[in-house]
């Protein structure tokens, strides 16, 4: 028996009852459309979160001290004093996977320019911080390592601070402003960075040499954070491991004790945030999967009805030479054709629905190849699985009894 002939037989059979075929397909069509639309919505929101996070600097690694318990007093992590200049030196010595390093200390306070003032924070960093964050200057120059050593009173303004201190758009470069009453000379203006994932305004900041902030503003010798960039995005995990090792040595931590610091890569951050949208995707997919299952049961039901209704036809086919396997394959192929055709229509419908969601309610969506491929596989399996028993029943009919069935 040629496969082409079986396909022809099955195709003619489902064509003889188009309306019913379509109604049978409907379950599959809706199921597949739902799977594709749901995963597209899930994937879309995941991708937009990822984009935002990697906008913070895609190969950035953050080190912060752990808030641990000292003498029964739990301290918050700004007052934890585990990250020091020593650590920076140690990290700089072993830059296998590390590209740039910058410590960071932050102080909140009032900044004044003549009649204008603004509550903001000043962040003390290395010049490398800009490269780590992927944050170019809009105007002026950055401070130098010389400025760091000398704790120079120079600063770079974020866009929000600039707009509040110079509301009339005057040239800020070279002007002196006061932060907590300490005068700083503006030597550069940062480009606009926008809001981060948590909705914070990243442009509401003043950057200054780290030593300046430590000595002149905070009077401390510790760092609140260290930012590191890996040599490339794929090396972030290796860089993180390297950092752990270096810092443990530098902090003289005995084997088996916990780290007194935390190293976080962007990838981990992305994972944390995608986890929520992952759960959403899984949930939506499960719902969609259930509708596929219901569609499959619909096929099985119709195939059973069809086998009973066409008993006489089956008897005739057997009398003119169809073997059991021919009948089995015919009904199986019918079920698969129905489910696959339903799959194609469903995929089309799902993609259209996805477009509409993006167009009308502006949700980010992403139709992934794998959701389409998986839907097809599921359709095929649904067809085989739910078509098999009716087909088997058909193939086992006795030709004489089937012929005389009324």
């Amino acid at each position: 028996m040629k496969m082409a002939n079986l396909l022809r037989i099955a195709w003619r059979a489902i064509n003889r009852n188009r309306m019913r075929t379509f109604l049978t397909m409907l379950g599959i069509i809706i199921g597949v459309a739902a799977v594709i639309a749901m995963t597209a919505i899930g994937q879309g929101s995941k991708q937009s979160i990822q984009k935002q996070i990697s906008g913070m600097g895609s190969n950035m690694i953050t080190i912060r001290p752990n808030s641990n318990v000292t003498g029964g007093v739990r301290m918050d992590n700004t007052s934890v004093q585990s990250l020091t200049e020593q650590d920076i030196t140690a990290l700089q010595k072993q830059p296998e996977y590390i590209d740039a390093i910058s410590p960071s200390v932050t102080s909140r306070g009032q900044v004044i320019n003549g009649p204008y003032n603004w509550a903001t924070s000043m962040q003390g960093v290395f010049p490398e911080y800009l490269a780590i964050r992927g944050w170019p200057l809009l105007d002026g120059v950055s401070f130098t390592s010389q400025d760091i050593k000398s704790a120079a009173k120079v600063c770079l303004l974020g866009q929000t601070v600039l707009n509040n201190l110079f509301p009339n758009g005057e040239d800020a470069l070279g002007k002196i402003i006061r932060f907590k009453n300490i005068p700083f000379k503006i030597i550069g203006v940062l480009s606009k960075k926008g809001e981060n994932t948590f909705g914070q305004d990243q442009d509401d900041v003043i950057l200054a040499p780290v030593n300046t902030v430590q000595k002149r503003v905070l009077a401390t010798t510790y760092y609140q954070n260290i930012f590191v960039s890996a040599i490339d995005e794929n090396a972030t995990d290796k860089a993180a491991a390297e950092i752990q090792q270096v810092l443990r040595t530098s902090h003289r931590l005995a084997k088996g004790t916990d780290n007194d610091f935390t190293v976080r890569t962007q990838a981990e951050l992305i994972n944390t945030f995608s986890a929520t949208s992952q759960i959403l995707t899984i949930l939506l997919t499960v719902i969609a999967g259930i509708s596929l299952l219901v569609g499959g049961i619909g096929i099985m039901n119709i195939m059973y009805v069809s086998v009973t209704e066409r008993t006489k036809e089956i008897g005739l086919r057997m009398s003119i030479g169809a073997r059991g396997i021919d009948i089995l394959l015919q009904f199986l192929i019918e079920a698969i054709l129905i489910s696959i055709t339903g799959g194609v229509l469903g995929a089309g419908l799902g993609i259209v629905a996805t477009r509409l969601v993006t167009f009308f309610i502006h949700w980010p969506t992403l139709v992934t190849e794998y959701s389409v491929i998986i839907s097809f596989l599921v359709c095929f399996i649904t067809g085989v699985f739910f078509g098999y028993y009716p087909a088997l029943k058909a193939s086992r009919l006795d030709p004489i009894e089937a012929l005389h069935y009324e």
Partner: protein, 257 residues
């Protein structure tokens, strides 16, 4: 042209028993006969005498519970289901009382159906053979008609074409005129006689109407599963003549010539 001496069917001591609950029904009991190529046999007998049971066994749809059946040199009782299906597909043609055409399927596609189950034929060969069979039953102009667009007699002719299309060694018909009025029945019998006389087709035709049996060359009469009579018909009626003599008033006269 026809080798009358070649034996197509040889049956010896054929038995068919059905178990119904604790009782055993003997549908066929010690039936023996043989059929030569080119014969036209009718099988007669009252209801329940075993005609259909015999035809089903001849047609390899059913297996005997005892005895031997040799079809065209093949010992049928030893064959598997799949091999029986192949025999039906390549050596036999069936015509049923209720036509059994596929609904919503054109005449030509109905006729092609047996060839679809034989990998040997290409699409072109199928179409050619089906067209030839359709021409043999004189329905070429109805090739694309659906069964519900055809009269009962025409549907039965399509069914006969379907039975012819695979060049079977034997055509089996079970009360093939049972659903038709007498005029249409005679038309069908005329067609059967033509196939038998002109093309040398071997035909086994079950009927319980004596006037139908009168068109055949030999009649086997069954009673209670046994052969009551097996005789050569000396006075074979010609269906064409019978049709001519029918009163012209009752003749709708759309008979194919």
């Amino acid at each position: 042209m026809i080798d009358m001496s070649s034996v197509i069917v040889d049956i010896k001591n054929l038995q068919r028993e059905f178990k119904v609950g604790n009782e055993v029904v003997r549908a066929l009991d010690d039936v023996s006969f043989s059929i030569n190529a080119g014969e036209f046999i009718t099988i007669m007998g009252s209801s329940g005498s075993g005609k259909t049971t015999l035809l089903n066994i001849l047609g390899c749809l059913d297996k005997p519970t005892g005895g031997e059946y040799l079809l065209d040199g093949t010992q049928v009782s030893k064959l598997s289901k799949t091999e029986l299906a192949r025999l039906r597909n390549q050596k036999l043609g069936f015509v049923f009382q209720s036509y059994n055409l596929l609904a919503r399927t054109s005449a030509i596609e109905n006729i092609e159906l047996p060839l679809l189950y034989n990998a040997r034929f290409s699409a072109r060969e199928r179409r050619e053979k089906a067209m030839a069979a359709l021409a043999a039953v004189k329905l070429t102009d109805r090739m694309n008609h659906l069964p519900n667009q055809l009269s009962g007699g025409q549907q039965q002719r399509v069914a006969i074409a379907r039975a012819l299309v695979n060049d079977p060694v034997m055509i089996l018909a079970d009360e093939a005129t049972g659903n038709l009025d007498s005029r249409t029945s005679y038309e069908i019998m005329m067609l059967i006689q033509e196939l038998n006389n002109d093309q040398g087709k071997t035909i086994v035709f079950v009927t319980h109407e004596p006037d139908i049996a009168a068109f055949s060359k030999r009649t086997i009469t069954l009673r209670d599963g046994r052969i009551l009579k097996d005789h050569i018909n000396r006075d074979v009626q010609n269906a064409k003549d019978v049709l001519k003599n029918l009163s012209p008033i009752t003749a709708p006269s759309n008979i194919a010539t």
